[in-house]
Every structure is written in C-alpha cells, then in structure tokens.
C-alpha cells in the first residue's frame, strides 16, 4: 500500500478528484494548507500599502491506494493539476504499513 500526498493549486481540486474517481480511487482527504516553494508568496494591498504575503494557499490531498495503482493515480494527479505555470505543486509517495477500517476491523488492502 502507498500513501500519495499531493500539494496542488486550489482551483484544480475538482479536476483531480474526478480524475481519481474515474480510475477507481474510493476516498480521499483534503486539507486547506499554506506554504511556499519556488512560487514564493503574493502581494496584498490595504489602503494603498503593499503587503508581502509569503505563504500561498494550497490544497493538500491525501490518497491511499494499493501498490499496483500508484503509477496510474500519480499520473492522473500530474495531468489534472498541471497548468505549466510556477506553483503547480508537488506529489509525495510513501509506503504505508497498515490501514484499518474502524467500523469493521478490516486490515490492509481490504480496508482501503
């Protein structure tokens, strides 16, 4: 099993979600986050004064999939979240030891 964490542009969330559902991903967790990478921040204007805001709002998606689905899922996120402009985000993949469905007590792949 693998956990995919993707930081993406907020307006790309719907496309990514639909893309993942099409290939059979059954659930995901989404968080509004702030951070910076190469894009750095943006400027805000209050009463004519410019303020530099370092942290840019992003969406973090967490998806858990079986090992054989990782490549496809990553490809979908890559395609759907891409604009080609700076600030498109990143995808992190890590291996996952255990998944448990609390209601039934199922373990492993069955619980995803």
């Amino acid at each position: 099993m693998r956990k995919i964490e993707a930081i993406i542009k907020p307006f790309k969330l719907d496309e990514v979600k639909e893309g993942l559902m099409e290939i059979g991903v059954k659930g995901m967790t989404v968080t509004e986050v702030k951070g910076f990478g190469r894009q750095k921040g943006h400027t805000e204007i209050y009463r004519g004064a410019e303020y530099r805001v370092d942290f840019v709002p992003k969406i973090k998606i967490e998806v858990v999939v079986a090992a054989d689905m990782v490549a496809e899922a990553v490809k979908v996120i890559e395609q759907k979240a891409k604009t080609g402009a700076i600030g498109d985000g990143k995808i992190f993949v890590s291996s996952l030891e255990e998944v448990i469905r609390i209601r039934t007590g199922e373990r492993g792949k069955e619980a995803i």
Binding site: E44, I45, Y46, R47, G48, A49, E50, Y51, R52, V53
Partner: protein, 407 residues
C-alpha cells in the same frame, strides 16, 4: 413651541447618529489583527456608556450651558438641571430641549471614539478610560461651545460648521496625530505586517457609518424641511463621489481597486462634506467629495513617509478630510441653500475662506496642544502602552480575558 414633526425628526436623527459608533467599532475592528478585535470594538462601545454619563453630569452644561466669556458654558445645567420638555431659548427652538441635548450627546460620543483608531492595538484600557473622560471634558466641550454654543467666540466670528467638520473631525484627527506622537509605536511597526483580519467587518461598519451619517448631517438642520433634505442629498453625493475617486486613485497607484479602498473613500467623503452639508448645493457636494477621496488617499500614504504608527488612519481620513471640508465650506457655501449661512469664495465672498481658515487653525492648535498635555500627564502617572508581552499576546486576552474567535 414644540413642533412634533421636528421633534420626531431630531429623535430619529439622534438614534441614527448613536448607531454610527457601533458602526465605527466594526469599521475599526475589522482592520486590526484578530487578537485585538474585541479590545478595539470595546473602545468605541464603552465610550457610548462613558460619555453618556459625563455628558449628562457636566459635558452638556460645559458645551451648551450659559456662556462664560465666549470660551465655555457654565455648570448651571449640571445633571441636566433646567434642561427639560420645553424648547431651549437658543438652540433648536422647535423641539424639546432634551431632544437637542440627546442629539448633541451622540456627537460627543462618536468624536472621541474616532481617535481610538490612532492608538489601536496598544493602549492600556484603564488609562484609555481616563483619557477619554479628560479629552471629552477638556477638548470636546470647549470646542463645541466655541463653534455651536450660544455666545461661542468662533460662532460669533461667523465660522461655518454645519455638522462638525472642526468640532468632530479636525479635533479627532489632530488629536490622533498628537496621540501617535506621544504613544509608542506597535512592536514590529515598519518590519512586521499588520494585515486587517476581517475586511467584510470593516465594510459593514463603513455602511453603517454612511447610514448613520444621514442623521448626523441632515439632523443638524434641527428642523425637518428643505434644509434637511438638501444636507441629506449633499451627504450622499459626497460619499459616493469620494468612494469612486479613492478607488480610481488606488487603481492607478497600485494597479488594483480594493474593497477596503471603496469603504475608506466613502467615509472620507462623509467626513469632508460634514461642515459643508447644510451650506452647499449638490454640484458642490460632488466636487467636495470627489476631491476628498483622492486627498485622503494621499493623506494615508503620507504616514509611511513620516513613519507614524497611526494604526487605522485617523489623521489621513479625519484630519485631512475634516480640514479640506472646513476650507471647502469657505469656497462653496451659498445663501441660496441656507439663508442663515454665508456665501463662500466662489459665490463672491472671499472673506469667508479666511474665517474658515482661522477656525481650522484654532482647532488644530487647541486639539493638538491639549491632547499632548493630557497624554503626557497620563504617561507619567498611569502609563499609556501595554507591556511588550501583553502586546504580543493581544489586548483581547490581556485587557479583557476574552477571545473573539474560538474554534
């Protein structure tokens, strides 16, 4: 003789002006950081209570009571003695004296509340309360007497101030300037960024101010007729024009038109039209407001040049806007609108501009010097600013043991 129409109008206007101070609380509250929003709202809100009590006891008598040498009223109306159900001989002679008194009270409330924007996010609450009582008594009451009191020396000189350009806006704006010179800056001023925590709250507050301002200016006609309608229209037009010119100026200067800019601009227009509202026609109001939007924007820009920490731009909006409005009254006033007024420069009476200038300078000097003295004394005795630790934790939790937003 009490006129019921006028009385109804004045009472409704008083209620409208009262509502401006909670509006101001929101206007200011949205512009501070979320750790200081309650403290900021509290400063305006508690002034409603504080000044209502002091006004009842001595404030009204000092401002409007029987004249002593053109400088101040005496204390014979202490605790509203002799202020009753029949009209006063000198003020608003068609409404009960109590109605005039309570209408004036609402002005006495909002004026000190305006100053709170200058020292937002850093003043000790206890010292703040004492400052407000002293300021209201030693600065507001004399000024109100000079300009509006029967026998007041600026009134006798012929200075025009329909609804409070000098008494309310210049006095609060210049006292704000004095305050930022005496009270230390916020920690991190110039390095950290103090971003408004809730602009919708500020815009809601601006809208309430605009709404209440109809009572402020039209109500200052003190009778419900043509003059009140004229002041109402001038007020609205100036606010609208200034909202647009601030927005356009900002758009050209910074490349984006902001919501906060539209709100700030309309307030600047309301400030500027206040002294002129009952003396000028609609076209003049359009110009006065239009100029105010750009002028006050530049006034707000100026503070970073000087390095002043006028947290919420009281000087830039009320000081600059009030000064412009008072002088503009000397330019655009016409007896065609108000027989009891005068003509201004553009209507063939250049002398009026000089009189307006004198009243502006007098108000500047008096408000500035008095505020400096009061604050210096309080600084030496009680301290003005909260400790560094309290400032970092925020005034809400350290001054009031509350937080505005709980998850």
């Amino acid at each position: 003789m009490v006129n019921t129409g006028d009385t109804a109008f004045i009472l409704v206007s008083a209620a409208l002006v009262m509502f401006m101070t909670p509006g101001l609380a929101l206007f200011y509250g949205g512009m501070v950081r979320n750790k200081n929003v309650l403290a900021t709202i509290m400063q305006s809100y508690i002034i409603i209570c504080l000044v209502s009590v002091s006004w009842t006891l001595w404030g009204y008598s000092l401002s409007f009571g029987p004249d002593v040498g053109g400088v101040i009223g005496n204390l014979s109306w202490f605790a509203l003695t002799d202020v009753g159900l029949t009209p006063s001989a000198d003020y608003a002679t068609t409404v009960p004296h109590l109605a005039f008194m309570v209408f004036q009270l609402m002005f006495a409330i909002i004026t000190p509340a305006l100053i709170t924007g200058a020292f937002a996010e850093r003043m000790k609450f206890k010292t703040f309360l004492v400052f407000m009582i002293l300021w209201s008594t030693l600065v507001y009451s004399p000024l109100a007497h000079w300009v509006w009191g029967s026998g007041g020396w600026l009134a006798k000189m012929g200075a025009l101030d329909f609804a409070g350009g000098t008494v309310v806006h210049i006095s609060s704006g210049i006292s704000a300037l004095a305050a930022v010179l005496v009270i230390a800056k916020r920690r991190g001023h110039g390095k950290e960024q103090f971003i408004p925590h809730n602009v919708p709250m500020t815009v809601t507050g601006a809208a309430i101010l605009w709404f209440g301002w109809f009572g402020f200016n039209a109500g200052s006609a003190l009778t419900s007729g043509g003059l009140a309608a004229s002041a109402f229209v001038a007020t609205h037009i100036a606010a609208a024009a200034a909202g647009l010119t601030w927005l356009i100026t900002e758009w050209i200067h910074r490349g984006k038109p902001t919501t906060l800019g539209a709100a700030s601009g309309s307030v600047a227009g309301l400030v500027a039209i206040t002294p002129a509202s009952g003396f000028v026609g609609p076209a003049s109001a359009l110009i006065i407001g239009g100029v105010a939007g750009t002028l006050c924007y530049l006034g707000v820009m100026a503070k970073s040049k000087f390095g002043y920490d006028d947290s919420l731009d009281v000087v830039g909006i009320h000081g600059v806007g009030g000064t412009w409005g008072a002088l503009a009254t000397g330019l655009f006033a016409t007896v065609a609108v108000n027989e009891a007024g005068k003509d201004g420069l553009f209507f063939g009476n250049p002398a009026q501009l000089w009189i307006q200038f004198v009243s502006v300078v007098t108000t500047w000097v008096f408000a500035f010097v008095m505020t400096i003295i009061i604050l210096k004394v309080l600084d030496a005795t009680m301290g003005l600013k909260v400790s560094d630790e309290e400032e970092v934790r925020g005034l809400d939790i350290t001054q009031h043991s509350e937080t505005a937003y709980n998850v």
